[in-house]
Amino acid sequence: MKKHGFGLLVGVVLGSLGLAQQRVTIDFWHSMGGVLGEATEALVKDFNAAQNRITVRSQFVGSYDEGLNKLQAALRAGGQGRPHVIQVYDIGARFMADSGAVIPLEDLARANNFDLSQFVPQPRNYYTVDGKLYGLAFNSSNPILYFNARALEEAGIPYRNTWSLADLETAARRLTVKDASGKTLRYGLSIPIDSWFVEQFSYNSGQFFCNNENGRKARATEVTFNNPAAVAFLDTWARLVREGVAANTGRNWADSQSLFAQGQAAIAIYSTASLTGVLRQVGNRFQVRTAFYPYLQERNGTAIGGAAVYLIRGFPEAETQAAWEFIRFLLRPEIQAKWIIGTGYFPVVRGVTELPSVRQAYVRQPNYTTAVRQLETSKVNNASAGCLMGGFTEIRQIVQSAIEEALRGKPAQQALSEAKGRADAVLARYNASVRQ
């Protein structure tokens, strides 16, 4: 009996030692650079410090495109080297669901009795594919307007929260400063060349970017980015660029941000996620104010942008469970609070904005509330759910080329319609490759 008890004791001790030593390590690939990267690494550090069973090994894998490409490469190699958790941008949602490589978040949530109604509806809608939630909207953003408050004041333009495209154009013209020779000294507006802004303008004006109601009712088979809102937006943008009212700094957001931060552009359009970086760059040169994204006739609401994290299939149960623990950690209100204060993204679970730390931060820097309020006041429908389709990476390139063509003089309608032909071919090819 005594002997047996001793054996049991040894067994328990060894067992607990064994458990203690069985630290699970999971890999997390993300694409957050700069300020956002620092905030992401801080979350991972917090998680690793908060418990001693799981170690998250995080890794910056370059741009979203590069991250997705590396995932694809790993899957091609039979899964060798794939991560447990990967951050993939918004437009990768269709691909991730089609790949079959992802454990839908909804399955895990149900298995672990996690209440899905805690999620804010828009991010949840965005990552819901064929009726099932696939990814956790880790960093959700929307596009907003940035104003140089001093320039607004000097020009006698009152600040407003909501801007139609026509209002924005008028303001941009008045804010433009040119010298005697007609050379622009300060631009009224600066928008980086990015398909995202055309997409969002479509949604915010109640239009779809791809057919079958943004691919939400059924798989999208055609793009609809030649819709009236997109055409009007691109038309105005191009006209302003040609007239020296809007700056064209190319596709690189950082270049446009430098221009804005140097006071050489009075209004700019970026993501909410750019806020921290922009504020840091501006320093105390002038005060920055932000407002909702513009629309054509009636404001519908923007879709979320940013990225989601997905759990990759095929790992031992213990590792998948560990990955889920990490996801749960990211969803905790206090962690969400820390994340959004550090970055300018908005929370994806309810109740975070009522936390004292968040309230204080919002009082200190009211610009951070713009995105949240824009989200809260957005209509929840298939337009603001955002377009879900495959081949989006390639299609964005096509749209960006169309923007560039329009900026140098091709009529927006023509540029977008021609681009539609190319984009439809890409989409058709993608859909065919899924059905194989």
Binding site: V61, G62, E66, A73, A77, Q80, G81, A254, Q262, G277
Partner: protein, 274 residues
């Protein structure tokens, strides 16, 4: 065209030299200047930084494993260089100094491979390396480049041009091919090997596309690819990007300044990879 008087021609010549040299190194000077600026001074006009500071270097080294990147590059470049020297010397010797059946065919093969552009093979080579499980390893960065058809070709040509009696003497003494290679061919080929080594090193150090696709873990990145990484992380902190670029430039720059002759000979000899 009337010739200029001598007292004028000289200074004008030096002036032209100076202006041209200045224009050529201007982009580098502008980079150097950016690396010594704080973020606040980044856009202040002028080539000279208003308040020179090491802030950008400090931030570069603290936030990015620049040392590790450089070590990776050094390890990869040195390994490739040694490998190329080895395979070029051995195969070059065999092709130049041993007669065996199929030798002509083998030489033809080397020449044919020499004509295969890297950009064609990199896709399937990537698949191969992936199947071997080498993604994110030094093996992926090094092994595919250990044999260089150009190196083999150059060494073969060089060894072939050496006088036969040097080799005959060795063979009469009873030396086998390995010893002849080691004691006769290699010492004689030292200048060619040095030049080939410099050429290989530069080529390996400059590799961009290949490391970009076979490595995605930060700690395995080579310095060249790391520059792209730093650029995408730092977004608008050009001073930090510039500091990293200068740090990556320094090793080759120093090597070039110290062993300029060898580098020049290497480029003049092979001069294939620009």
């Amino acid at each position: 065209m009337p010739s200029l008087p001598r007292w004028l021609a000289r200074p004008l010549f030096y002036l032209a030299l100076g202006v041209y040299a200045w224009l050529l190194i201007l982009p580098l000077l502008s980079l150097l200047s950016a690396s010594f600026r704080s973020e606040a001074d980044l856009y202040t006009p002028g080539l000279w930084p208003p308040q020179p500071t090491l802030e950008a270097y400090r931030e570069a080294v603290q936030k990015h494993p620049v040392g590790r990147y450089l070590l990776n590059s050094l390890l990869v470049s040195l390994s490739i260089t040694l490998g190329v020297l080895f395979t070029s010397a051995t195969l070059g010797y065999a092709l130049a100094r041993i007669r065996f059946a199929g030798q002509k065919l083998l030489f033809g093969f080397v020449v044919a491979v020499l004509l295969i552009p890297d950009e064609v093979t990199f896709l399937p080579r990537y698949l191969l390396v992936q199947q071997l499980g080498w993604i994110n390893s030094y093996a992926a960065l090094i092994v595919p480049f250990l044999a260089s058809p150009l190196g083999i070709f150059l060494l073969r040509q060089f060894l072939k041009s050496l006088p036969q009696d040097l080799f005959d003497a060795a063979r009469i003494d009873g030396a086998g091919h390995l010893r002849t290679l080691w004691h006769v061919a290699l010492p004689l080929a030292a200048p060619a090997l040095g030049a080939l080594g410099a050429l290989s090193f530069l080529g390996a150090w400059n590799m961009y596309l290949w490391p970009l696709v076979v490595v995605n873990q930060n700690q395995m990145k080579t310095a060249q690819v790391a520059i792209a990484q730093v650029q995408s992380v730092e977004v608008s902190s050009w001073n930090v990007v510039a500091a990293v670029a200068i740090l990556v430039l320094l090793p080759t720059l120093l090597a070039f300044l110290l062993a300029q002759r060898t580098f020049i000979r290497g480029i003049a000899l092979g001069g294939l990879k620009g």
